[in-house]
């Protein structure tokens, strides 16, 4: 078989699959441990956690230490604004000294007025140039964060991004492998139809493909559907 170029695709796939990926659950646990370190580094903070964000509308919390984190995050996702979304979009740490004085995210600060939080620190989660979200810590007191807090959250953001990026790759790989299984099934069907036509019409492999491609174009049917009909004997090609 003249399939050498394909060996590259499969080698890459199997290499990535054998790489020992984290499950989403394990990644969340690892990030939650980092979030606890972050939470404990700030006296009397309300909680910490991560947000997974992408340009296609993904907005999810991971590894949150406390319910108030999930509530404040959810309001950011629903309103489409807030310190974590800005940290992700602008790729820099964001501090809110006091939510009652803050003017940059008016809808979000109004929405969290009833929650026990007054200051926020958020840093982008980036690994190998990919923006995957933001890490954040909330405090019930104003002016809870200083330059040292920024240093600390940025140090913790690096391993959190690696762990979460790794779990995300695994999801993408599962999608890709299910697409490959589907493609292989169609490929098999088309090869079988090719064999049926070669035998039935005494033609070459190329001519069999010409027959199938023409049928697909003229009848406006996908090629694998044409092949399935040939294999199941539904056409008199």
């Amino acid at each position: 078989m003249d399939n050498l170029p394909l060996a590259n695709e499969f080698a890459a796939l199997t290499g990535q699959m054998a790489g020992g990926f984290l499950t989403e659950e394990n990644a969340s646990k690892a990030v939650q441990s980092l979030a606890y370190v972050l939470k404990d580094s700030v006296p009397n903070s309300a909680g910490a956690g991560a947000s997974l964000i992408n340009g296609r509308g993904r907005r999810e919390s991971a590894g949150a230490t406390d319910p108030v984190v999930l509530q404040a995050d959810k309001l950011q996702y629903e309103l489409g604004q807030g310190p974590c979304l800005s940290a992700w979009a602008e790729q820099r740490a964001v501090i809110i000294g006091d939510t009652r004085q803050e003017t940059r995210w008016p809808e979000w600060t109004a929405a969290v007025a009833d929650l026990p939080l007054r200051s926020v620190l958020s840093a982008p989660l980036t690994t190998e140039g990919r923006r995957i979200g933001a890490l954040k810590v909330y405090s019930p007191f104003p002016q809870a964060f200083d330059a040292h807090s920024v240093f600390l959250i940025e140090r913790l953001a690096a391993p959190a991004a690696i762990v979460l990026g790794n779990a995300r790759d695994r999801e993408a790989m599962q999608r890709l492998s299910s697409q490959l299984v589907e493609a292989l099934a169609k490929r098999d069907m088309i090869s079988r139809a090719e064999g049926v036509l070669i035998e039935r019409m005494s033609i070459t492999s190329r001519e069999a493909f010409t027959v199938m491609l023409s049928a697909s174009r003229e009848e406006d049917k996908p090629l694998h559907a044409v092949a399935r009909e040939i294999v199941s004997g539904m056409t008199n090609q």
């Binding site: 078989m1 003249d2 399939n3 170029p5 394909l6 590259n8 695709e9 697409q179 490959l180 589907e182 493609a183 292989l184 169609k186 490929r187 088309i190 090869s191 090719e194 190329r206 493909f209 491609l213 697909s216 174009r217 406006d220 996908p222 090629l223 694998h224």
Partner: protein, 101 residues
Amino acid sequence: MEAFDEPDEQAQATREAMEEAGLPISAVWIRYFSFTGTAGEYEIDAYLNGSMALPAHERDLVAHAVNELIKELPPRRMAPYSKNGTKPSQERGPSQEDKAF
């Protein structure tokens, strides 16, 4: 769809069709692969960018993959009509109806 005798023109027109429809190379390759195509994704990328030649049979499999993916895209949004007057579909017989795209 026109027939192209010039491989370079076929590659360029195929790439332009992909770009217009926003089809990524990975989606085109996996469909081409399901058509028993034997070139890898890297080779298809090189072919579409004019830096590698492919046999006519493989070129047509790439073209067919692109065309199937384009037909699977959601139909473009149409403008709504007012409630006044008759609907356009009542004014003409079914024989005059346009093809689906």
